[in-house]
Symmetry: C2
Amino acid sequence: MAELVKVVVDAMGGDNAPAEPVKASVDAVTERQDIQVILTGKKDIIEKELSKYENYPKDRIQVVHASEVIETAEPPVFAIRKKKDSSIVVGLNMVKKQEADAFVSSGSTGAVLVGGQVLVGRSKGVERPPLAPLIPTKDGVSLLVDCGANVDARPSHLVQFAKMGSIYMENVVGVKNPRVAIVNNGAEEEKGNALVKETFPLLKECEGINFIGSIEARDIPAGYADVIVCEAFVGNVILKLYEGVGATLIDKIKGGMMANFRSKIGALLVKPALKATLKTFDASEHGGAPLLGLKGLVVKTHGSAVAVEIKNAIFQCVQFKQQKINEKIAEQINGETVQPQQ
Amino acid sequence: MAELVKVVVDAMGGDNAPAEPVKASVDAVTERQDIQVILTGKKDIIEKELSKYENYPKDRIQVVHASEVIETAEPPVFAIRKKKDSSIVVGLNMVKKQEADAFVSSGSTGAVLVGGQVLVGRSKGVERPPLAPLIPTKDGVSLLVDCGANVDARPSHLVQFAKMGSIYMENVVGVKNPRVAIVNNGAEEEKGNALVKETFPLLKECEGINFIGSIEARDIPAGYADVIVCEAFVGNVILKLYEGVGATLIDKIKGGMMANFRSKIGALLVKPALKATLKTFDASEHGGAPLLGLKGLVVKTHGSAVAVEIKNAIFQCVQFKQQKINEKIAEQINGETVQPQQ
């Protein structure tokens, strides 16, 4: 049997804590035998929440007390430094000390990003660990790398994003020979800002990735590439506009369906089928976003994540560990062959 | 009566030329008495197209022959320099020589942008003329400035974009005291890349605009600001992702409605109401994008524009001229009071 993967889950992070992270943990250890979950946060609150569940393998859920909570509005660097007994810092430190393989949190994105880099630390050779969420496309998902805190990135960073993103898509998501594209303001090679123009030839020469050239933002939702490379400011705009356009459009469609009696009847009839369709185009359905290139694994789930998403993020961690993603990243970045651990 | 506004329309530009630009011109002069249209392009083709219409004020449509056509795929700078007898160059030169007030084209965006700057020329004090399309929001439209060719802009450029955008929204679109926001990767003032961090305090201090701070991409479709300021690379990503997410989502919704018999019946009932709603969220419905800060007016309409959009762009030109936008821009940028021309 595969070895037990130990995932720390932040029980205090996100809009739906502690109920949803606790439920996710219970469901995860119930569904799969190869997972151990460590819940960090206020012990009494977590245990009260856990007591709502009966039939689950109790030996595979552990609670580690953390007396503090980092709020979303707190400045991340300051919060990580000051709240040493917060659920985020305690959880990340367990990954740092290799007491756990991965950390999953729906809490402050800033704190998770900063804490991941500062506490867990970068893998050897990795210049900037990018945050890489999966975004929905017409018939699947693409990895958008970077959506993190690395604004004003350099060309060499983007090349590493492309390499790490390819490894993740191939081994965790299961896309063979993933197509890598760089976000550009035109399809032609001579287009771009200074960063893209400098990065383009480097990606073209880069071995071990399947670089297909520029991608215009218009073609991202159509799924023209599997790994979408950009610096974090642009990545943030893409990720958030996805949500924004989707939300406004769905709002307008709902309004349009209520326009008159005829359309109201129609709305009742299409609603169930439509709901199922729209779910496939909801960014929050696609698990968590890994922070790639760290010594351990850190996954950020949506602030509004519910149990099923957090559970999927826990499963992602197992896949990440079992597929030895960090070893593969180290090999790609440094050109070193890492012996698989037994 | 107001003086006649002279608008040059590129009869050869866009996917639907010459039929749609010619129809737009006929409709424009028929609907409004204060417009004269000059069609540029191949004379025989235009006249053949015009001969399909009978009852329109023929004295207010003029044809100016241009033997060449700039194709979309041609490198813009080269095309403008080489094809001196193209419909775009001939049209822009008429604006330059003040033989016309404005130029409207659905042709090559690059050629129109380059030609506008090189041939018509920048207004005194304007550093970079931005392309500023209107994008649909939940209940109206916002101006996205810049979506042009000015990638890697400087803070002073963005401040001018804010000023010019405010004047346009207030006087052409009719939004009183338009809210100006800068695209950022977070709502807090300390967020941003180097460009945004440098620009933010300048916008805060800038007189004559209603600066409301940062806007996250998520809030753009909800209509939180009237003038959305960003550099052109980001503007291009926003504009094209708007289209892309919209198209994919609508595609998926159509698919979802065809899922089963029940939903198919529903789809028939909601279709008319839905179609009307989606029209209001279609970027191409909102006329053309002006190139702001030139000595004359240049408006770019979608490559796929049909007559109604081109006609609306022509009407925009009239509003632009009658509201003396260029005089107001000159006043704002240079602090000069310009005497309105009689």
